[in-house]
Each structure stands twice: as C-alpha cells, then as structure tokens.
Amino acid sequence: MSASDAFGLLGCGLLGLAAVATLIPLRRLPAGARYAVMLAAALAVFIPFGDLPAAAYLRGVTGDVSVTTLVLAGAACIARLTGRTLIGPRDLRALFWLVVLAALFLYPFALGWTQFDPYALGYGSIDFLTALLLVTLAAWRAKLYALMFIVIAAALAHLAGAYESRNLWDYLIDPLVCSYALARLLAHLRQFAPQFVRSRRAQDV
C-alpha cells in the first residue's frame, strides 16, 4: 500500500470514527466503555470485509479528506472520549467563516462557471501562497492558534505529498468540511438572530 493510500484511508477512517463518536452518546458511558466502543468502531472501519474496509467505501464517495477535516474529526473524537475541548469556540468560528468564504471562492468557479479556475492556483501560485500567508499572519495576530495549526499542518502534508493530489486546496478544504462549517455558522446565526432582533426592537421603542 502506498503512503498516499494509507494516509487517505486513515483520514476517511478517522472521519468515520468521528461520526460514530458524535452519534453515540459516549459521554454517558463509563470511561472504559467509551474506549471499548471506539476500539470496536476502529476495527469495523479499518478491518476489510470482502475486498475493502469500510474506510475504503467511504473514500470511494468522499475522496481524500482535507487536513482541516482530519483535525476537526480528531478533535471531535478526543472531545467525546475525554471531555477535553482542543479547539475553542473563537477559533472554531473563525475557522468556519474562513472555510465558508474559501468554498464560495473555490467551488462555483472550479465547477466551470467561468474561464477563471481558482483550483489551478493550488498547484503553485505566488498570489495564492501570499494570500494564505496573510491569513495565517492575521490568525497569529488574533491569537487564533488552532487556525494557524491547521494551515501549517495542511501545508506540511502538501509539501510531503501525503495525498494523491498535488494541489494545496485539497489539503486545506473539502466539500464535507465546507458543508459542516456552513451548517455550524447558520446554527450560530439562528441562535443569535432573535437576540439581535430583540435588541433592535428595544432600540426602536
């Protein structure tokens, strides 16, 4: 098995584990049972039945998932197992906004809307690298270290050629994490919209 296949399967498997950890109320179980459930899930995900393991079926659908998805999936597993939150709400909100904005820039054009193809920038563009550097520096200034960590990890994986892709975009985002980020942002806005409306009404009175 090539290193890129191993890394790709590991990513999809971790995504599967995060789904299991989220769907099952692990926190209600004793610590030993939590680890036993996750171990059983890991076996189910990575042990082949028939020709392929479940992770390979997931990989057939999703392709290789981005490093951002990997980090979020890993953080979700750890949070469900140990109760420790690795990424704070402020970092998460900033990450979600950034991911959604990147998706709005990338996908419509990459899917053929115009002759401009932002996906091609990911193969090597000074402008793209500089924009990413500025975002990283802004994250550093704002002390959003989780966001910095994700960009650094994605760039390292890209430099190492960890996936089949040689395009930096594929290490930064994927449609799954974009959908997830959009859903979380919409939920957040829905939560705060009534407060905003109430405060505006109060001002009107």
Partner: protein, 385 residues
C-alpha cells in the same frame, strides 16, 4: 518563557518555516515549456491507394465502446476499449488486443483491468469503468488512462492511470488522478495525451457534473496532476482533442452539447497551451458525439466525425490544409446508403493514429457490439476527393 509566549513565537516560527518551504518549492518549479514536437511519421510517398477494415475480436462482451490505440514496437498497434453486458454495468472491463500490420490480424482480446481489480488497487470502492485512453509518456512508457465511477452516473467519474514498461504485456497498478476539488468527481477522458517540451504529459479532459467544459491537465513523470488549464467553460463543450503543430501552436476540437446549430467546436492556443481562445463553431456538424483528430506527417489535419446534426449513422473523414480554418470532407467510413451496416446503425467514438510508416488507423464503435478498425494511406484519402 511562559506557555503563552512559547505558543505565540513557536507558531510564528513554524509558519515562517512552512511558508518558506512553500515559496522555495514554487520558485524552483521548472517553468512550463510549450508542446514537444510530435514523433515523426513517414510523410506520404506516391503510392497506390490502400484501404482495409476489419472488426476487432470480441468473444465475451455484448456491448463495447470507446476504442483507443497506440503504436507499439514492430509497427504494431495496441488497442483498448471497454466492454461488458451493457454500458455502465459492473462487469465492464477494459480489453486490449494487438494488431500486426504484416498479418493484418488482431490478437485475441484480453482484459487489462476489471472493476474488482481497480477497486483493490485504488483502495476505494469502484462501481463501474468507462472510457480508456492510450498514449505514451516522455520516457516512452505506454500509459493507459481510464475512467472509473464510485457513486452515481458518468458525472461521478474520476480518471486513473496505469503504466506499462513492456508495451502493454504487463501493467503497474492504477493510480488515481486528482483533477477536481469537489470530491474529485466529474472528470473524464476521451482525447489523446500529448507531450510538453519540459517532459510533462498533457491530458485533455472534460467535466460533466454541473457544467460541461474541457481542461488540459499537465502530469509529471509519476503521473500526478501538477497544473491545469481551462479550455472552455459553461455547459456545452466536452471531449476535447488537442492537435499541436509547433512548440507554441495547437488547435483543439470539442464535442458540442448545446443548442442548435450543432457544430464541432474549435479552440486555439499560440503560447504552448497556457491560454486558449474561446470556443467557436466550425462548419462541421456534430450530433453531440465524440470526434478524433491528428496532425498528419504532411502537415494537414485529419478529423473523424459524425457528419450529421442529429444521429451517429454517418462517420466521415475531413481534411484541413490550413490548420482547421477550412475543411473538405474526403471520405465516408460508414453510412453509405445501401452498404451493409451494423444491426444498430451507430458508428461513434472514433480514434485516429498515424503510425511510423505513415499508415492511418481509425478505430470506432461499430453498432455498439464491436470495435472496427479501418486503415488506409493518404493516397486513399486523396482519391476520395
């Protein structure tokens, strides 16, 4: 130093190192060259018109489609196509056969890759196989690109690459090409690969998920996509074929899937494929069907196409002496009234190769049940005018 200060300055140092790596990699990338000169075929010499045709062997598959071929050692031709119980069925495999010009016979067909084998090597589920495309990389190795689908119809396609070091007798495991950020779906292949002067391989591909448009991928020696250029955009152009003439110049043709009038689309580049003109309609009809084209050794462009606006019952050849500006239809390969045809009158998905001896080979789907091989010389083309 406190943990906060470690985090603050350590993260900045890590970012600086990683971005330095990204910039260094980018700045040390070789600048893309133009097209490599095409392998020289022998120019046409005065000769008697020659023409022959036969059906390729097919002992197992009720349905076959999408032939492709490359010249191999000894002036032979190795063809590939996909076949199975029907298009898109799980039992579809990519088959190969070798044509010997001396005996004018094809070897019995054999499967090169099946769905199960592709699934095992690609380490992901594969539901069906599709279009193969054959060519050579700059090292001279035989390359076989083929489409596979994991979910949905052809819009869910991805491209895979297999390489052979022994002219197609044995093959390395397939690897996946990544050409789209959206689950890497909706990338298909039909046109012949080409070579760039810097050693990269060019692969014309097309997308048909939300839009239908063409792109030219640039692959490095191991077969990774390292750059791509958009050939068209929107919802009406697909299956590009690219015909380079010099390091800078190339013309491309595309299948048209838009509103009438149904015409073959043409694009051009004059900077080695970095920028392409917007597609324009040629005078040649196109019933939303694949086309094939090649630059002949004498500098003319030969095109195989369905000469009808609505169906695939007429397969014809056209020649251009001015690199695609004007065309003369010189021969009809299929569709002559009164001539015996296939049970299903569909002649489609042509593929053209001019071999080193100057003979021209056209392979195409014959009634969806067989692949047909027509071979002729330029004298036969001239006589058809």
């Amino acid at each position: 130093m406190t943990r906060e200060r470690w985090l603050r300055w350590g993260s900045l140092a890590a970012a600086a190192l990683v971005f330095a790596g990204l910039y260094v990699r980018h700045l040390t990338l070789p600048s893309p060259g133009g097209f490599a000169p095409a392998r020289a075929a022998r120019a046409a010499s005065p000769a008697a018109p020659l023409y022959g045709a036969e059906l390729l062997p097919n002992s197992t598959a009720p349905s076959v489609h999408s032939a492709t071929a490359a010249e191999i050692s000894g002036g032979r031709l190795r063809a590939f196509w996909y076949g199975g119980s029907r298009e898109g069925a799980p039992d579809v495999a990519i088959y190969t056969s070798v044509y010997s010009p001396k005996e004018e016979t094809w070897s019995p067909e054999r499967a090169v890759i099946t769905r199960e084998l592709a699934q095992r090597h690609l380490r992901r589920s594969v539901r069906k196989l599709g279009n193969p495309v054959a060519g050579r990389d700059r090292a001279g190795r035989l390359c076989l690109f083929f489409v596979s689908v994991s979910v949905g119809g052809w819009a869910g396609s991805a491209i895979n690459l297999m390489v052979s070091e022994d002219e197609g007798e044995t093959w390395g495991p397939p690897r996946r090409l990544v050409a789209s950020p959206f689950f890497n779906i909706s990338t298909l292949v039909k046109g012949a690969p080409l070579q760039f002067a810097d050693g990269a391989t060019g692969l014309p591909v097309y997308h048909e998920f939300l839009g239908k448009f063409g792109e030219l991928l640039r692959l490095d020696a191991p077969g990774h996509v390292i750059q791509k250029t958009r050939l068209s955009w929107g919802q009406s152009s697909l299956q590009p074929v690219i015909v380079p003439r010099s390091e800078a110049e190339a013309v491309g043709f595309m299948r048209y899937a838009g509103d009438p009038p149904n015409r073959i689309l043409m694009i051009r580049t004059s900077d080695g494929g970095e920028h392409w003109s917007a597609p324009v309609k040629t005078a040649l009809p196109n019933p939303n069907a694949a086309i094939a084209s090649v630059l002949l050794a004498d500098g003319r462009v030969l095109l195989a196409f369905n000469n009808a606006g609505e169906n695939r019952e007429d397969l014809s050849l056209a020649l251009s002496e001015d690199f695609g500006d004007t065309w003369r239809i010189v021969r009809r390969l299929e569709g002559d009234p009164g001539s015996p045809g296939a049970p299903v009158p569909e002649y489609s998905y042509p593929w053209i190769v001019q071999d080193g001896a100057g003979e021209i080979h056209v392979l195409y789907t014959w009634g969806r049940s067989r692949i047909k091989h027509a071979h002729f010389n330029t004298a036969w083309l001239e006589k058809g005018r």
